[in-house]
């Protein structure tokens, strides 16, 4: 039988352990962020944002080299992926929320949850088989499709959730003045849910923007900027996550520094999107 003193001591010990856990978990995060910034900041120069990568000799000889083509490629592919993913994801979300009795819905939910939990690399493999193999070449299009596969389940889930949070009475009010269902959904329900819809899309975008694995076998990478914009869609393209990986495992130290700089850019990009989503969520309340 423990005395009150012993129990109180045990309480204190547990509390310290809990604080320790928190520190143990958060410290590595801080360390990582600090290292990324410290190591990368010096390489974030004008050249970084304006030059192409070129061959390793460029860096070794000290000629200007940078990742402008990577940044452009990232933006193009990410937004193309968004463009592909939003209709499908939102369509599925609308189906789940506005047609709740549809008999395919349980299947759809399970399949969507499954897709959500699948490693992104498998989505890259799927895009490889569906797009790269028939096209015969790696391409920005394939990369965008792979990222769309990553975004779709997230958008579907968040859309369903956002639409379901709108009370049914809004829909009834629309129907009662003689609006057809599609008008009710598109013009009264979805605008009312716009915060949730936008934040869900942002989150999906940010998740996909950080993925490298699916891009390794789809957009593959390119040390140069394609000549024509069509070349971005139909040929290999560089993107930040994939390029970061290549630079990190390369044997050239100047490329390593650029890798750290790329890490800063990618980190800022992704965190900005997540933070905006968070901010919007809080704004709503």
């Amino acid at each position: 039988m423990k005395t009150l003193l012993q129990r109180n001591i045990r309480d204190r010990i547990m509390e310290s352990l809990l604080v320790l856990s928190t520190i143990v978990v958060l410290l590595p995060l801080i360390i990582i962020l600090v290292h990324v910034v410290l190591n990368g900041i010096s390489a974030l120069n004008w050249d970084f944002f304006t030059q192409e990568l070129g061959s390793p000799s460029r860096a070794m000889q000290g000629r200007p080299t940078g990742l402008v083509h990577t940044i452009i490629g990232t933006v193009v592919i990410d937004f193309l992926a968004l463009f592909l993913a939003v209709p499908i994801g939102m369509g599925a979300g609308i189906m789940l929320s506005e047609f709740p009795d549809h008999k395919l819905n349980p299947t759809l939910r399970i399949m969507n949850d499954t897709l959500n939990g699948m490693p992104a690399i498998l989505k890259g493999l799927l895009a490889f088989v569906l797009i790269v193999k028939p096209m015969g070449t790696f391409s920005g299009l394939a990369g965008a499709v792979a990222l769309a596969f990553v975004m779709i389940p997230i958008i579907a889930r968040t859309t369903e959730s956002a639409l379901m949070s709108i009370p049914w009475s809004i829909r009834e009010a629309g129907l009662a003045i003689g609006l057809p269902r599609w008008r009710v959904v598109l013009s009264t329900v979805m605008p009312a849910a716009r915060f949730g819809l936008v934040t869900g899309t942002l989150i999906a975008f940010a998740r996909a923007a950080g993925e490298a694995a699916p891009l390794l076998f789809t957009s593959f990478g390119n040390n140069y900027l394609p000549n024509h914009w069509l070349g971005m869609l139909l040929g290999p393209v560089d993107t930040l996550p994939q390029r970061l990986y290549s630079l990190a495992i390369s044997p050239y130290s100047h490329w390593h520094s650029m890798g750290w700089a790329a890490a800063i850019v990618l980190l800022v990009f992704v965190i900005f999107c997540f933070a905006t989503a968070r901010y919007l969520t809080r704004q709503k309340h």
């Binding site: 009834e172 629309g174 009312a192």
Partner: protein, 300 residues
């Protein structure tokens, strides 16, 4: 492709959007049938009483539970019909069958017929969307569309079906807001959000929104139960005005309100229509014991 569209659209209703004078006569030619139990034909003393709507053996089931059973009622043109009864008696279920709102409820089945100007609104070639323009509805809790201004709320029923000419919308907006006795209070801030109004004003906004599409019948589901007494009496005054222009069916759990605003009353109990008659008669000399018990407050 055109053939496909033609085939699809040829199945779409022949029913005109609004009653033309011909169909009005056709509706008037139908006999005024009343419900089981009472006559109530000459009680109000009106010179001509035409039926705008009527139901025959209307039954609504949710799965295996019965909401209302075999209700046959006349709904006279430009009069107010009140539906009263204790909670769960089916009055709201009945009301919602009148504009096919049950189409959207899972597992709800509607049998029997609901006639608007003599034509059954549940016929297969009738488009419920068009029905709901002719038969409008106001709900217990006012729900202005949250992202729209007062103006946009009122004209939503027009704008969102493609009527966009500004002069028409302006005119309809003013007309509807005046009908709903709200115009004076909001005419200087038509662009502020619909949600910025008070509860009573929001309800009148909902009424204006429903009136904007020029319906022939207005269904009201306990429109004042979430409002304060002042707003309540304003809306009751409104109903007195409106009935010269629209036929009204109102569900209310407040008997005094029913007595104040309606011309005819129907009393429901556990899914059955117990009694129907002119309001004055039903409240002073009810024919059924159950009715009398309810009216005298012995239950409900």
């Amino acid at each position: 492709m055109m053939n496909l569209i033609q085939t699809i659209t040829s199945k779409v209703p022949v029913l005109p959007l609004f009653a033309t004078s011909e169909s009005r006569q056709a509706g008037g030619a139908a006999e005024a049938r009343t419900s089981t139990g009472t006559s109530g034909t000459s009680g109000t003393g009106k010179a001509e009483k035409r039926m705008r709507m009527e139901t025959h053996d209307l039954t609504v089931r949710y799965g295996s539970t019965v909401g209302v059973k075999n209700v046959s009622l006349p709904i006279y043109d430009k009069q107010v019909l009140a539906l009263i009864g204790p909670s769960g008696c089916g009055k709201t279920t009945y009301l919602r069958a009148l504009n096919r709102m049950h189409d959207l409820t899972r597992g709800a089945t509607v049998t029997g017929s609901v006639l608007l100007d003599g034509k059954n609104i549940y016929d297969s070639e009738v488009n419920p969307v068009i029905i709901r323009r002719r038969i409008g509805m106001v709900f217990q809790k006012p729900t202005p569309f949250p992202t729209m201004s007062i103006y946009d709320n009122v004209v939503a029923g027009l704008k969102l079906v493609g009527i966009r000419k500004k002069n028409v919308l302006d005119e309809v907006c003013e007309r509807a807001l005046k009908q709903a006795a709200l115009f004076g209070e909001v005419k200087d801030r038509l662009n502020s959000p619909g949600s910025s109004l008070s509860g009573g004003q929001q309800q009148r906004l909902s009424i204006a929104r429903a009136l904007a599409v020029d319906p022939e019948v207005m269904l009201m589901d306990e429109p004042t139960s979430s409002l304060d007494p002042q707003s309540t009496s304003r809306i009751e005054d409104l109903i007195h005005e409106l009935k010269n222009q629209v036929t009204i069916v109102i569900v209310t759990h407040n008997m005094q309100q029913a007595a104040r605003v309606s011309d005819n009353t129907a009393f429901f109990y556990v899914g059955d229509l117990i009694e129907y008659g002119p309001t004055s008669t039903l409240f002073t000399k009810p024919k059924e014991t159950r009715t009398e018990e309810y009216i005298t407050g012995q239950f409900g």
